[in-house]
Symmetry: C2
Subunit: 237 residues, 2 copies
């Protein structure tokens, strides 16, 4: 539908299947214009997508080249599974969820500020433990404004909040601000993550997520077993 995305997907495919070899030069932008029948700016936008994904690099005066990336996950990551929740990430596993807590409360001042509400308003207060193929992965603490995300029920929590938000409520997720830390588990986390008798560090991800229209709809803290989870990013100047 949208041309630059079509072109980007097409070039991406050629890189991943080896038609364009790592370290080698891509066809010139001018040539691609002819090949795809689009203007040069459209080609540039397509290539800029791939730069953002970490798949190619451009050298002014020289050309565009396939970046050598051995890390399969980085290539995956570029496939923009950005805002999928736990269920989607582990869709090839048997996903189980234990609901530890599910009620409605007033947010703290800090959380109210991050969600742009007052402490008089209400939020869902959800604590869940998540398992993949029987292995404990993460304990998630989630707060969401009940006004923005109505109709949450236990059945939804046992599956995927994200798919409920996107498919049922037809809301679109635009961005997320994340902070990562290394921490130690508390007693409850030790229990649900089954690390009573071992020393296991956790990777904590604090997140504020925003809808399409700029409204923050989720404040969450996820604490992952350090031996199960790693977090990858590509940053470009």
């Amino acid at each position: 539908m949208i041309k630059y995305q079509e072109v980007a997907r097409n070039i991406r495919k050629k890189i991943l299947n080896g038609e364009y070899v790592a370290g080698k030069q891509l066809p010139l932008e001018k040539e691609m214009c002819v090949y795809y029948g689009v203007s040069r700016i459209t080609i540039k936008r397509a290539l800029d997508e791939l730069v953002k994904q970490g798949l190619v690099i451009k050298r002014r005066g020289s050309g565009t080249f396939v970046k050598s990336v051995e890390d399969e996950d980085i290539r995956e990551l570029s496939a923009l599974r950005q805002f999928t929740g736990f269920s989607e990430t582990y869709k090839n596993c048997k996903v189980e969820t234990t609901i530890i807590k599910f009620d409605i409360i007033h947010p703290s001042e800090e959380v109210a500020a991050k969600l742009q509400m007052t402490v008089e308003d209400f939020v869902y207060n959800i604590i869940r433990a998540r398992y993949a193929d029987g292995r404990p992965i993460v304990v998630e603490y989630t707060q969401m404004p009940i006004g923005l995300i109505p109709g949450i029920k236990r059945a939804i929590l046992e599956k995927s909040i994200y798919s409920y938000i996107q498919k049922e409520l037809q809301l679109k997720i635009q961005s997320a601000h994340r902070t990562l830390r290394a921490v130690m588990p508390n007693e409850m986390e030790q229990e649900y993550l089954r690390i009573k008798d071992t020393v296991m560090p956790l990777l904590e991800v604090e997140q504020v997520a925003f809808l399409d229209d700029g409204r923050p709809f989720e404040y969450s803290i996820s604490r992952h077993r350090g031996d199960e989870i790693e977090f990858k990013t590509v940053s470009i100047k």
Copy 2:
């Protein structure tokens, strides 16, 4: 010099000093064209920068709005201090460095692959502990091809490799692929990070960094004290 960057900086300034208020609509793209005397595409590119930085959001059919961000660090982060090393990040502190190891070795197969070299080639092998205002922060394991980054000396390691690369060698850093994990310290790290008698998780950052021309020039693992370091990101759909 470059117009869209000028415009982006200007708008950014107005957001940060409160001239454009959080949650409120920015002037229309058309109006900005007149105000800045540039074409609409240039305004769009400027605004897209600010979207990438997490400072504004755009709604097709409605307008462009200032994102409400309480977290000062996110706003800082957007000021693209992306590829500054330890010394720059802590420039307001008294930075000290202990060189634990500094020699030249053959890389392992894994590292050779990531740095696009063979196990026959040579890399610097550097281990350093870094301190800010006397507080231990991180132990860094760094490997760099001697061919790409010649002339590393102890005096450089005690200050900043990054400033040597950029200022002395005039090389430009283009991107970095990072993987974050939560881990426990080994004995040596416990010593240099002064956590002999406490349980302290570490935030590990594994990184492959690339130059302007696409060549990887650094493979490093940094293990930070969990109570000193957090890592922030903004991701946009």
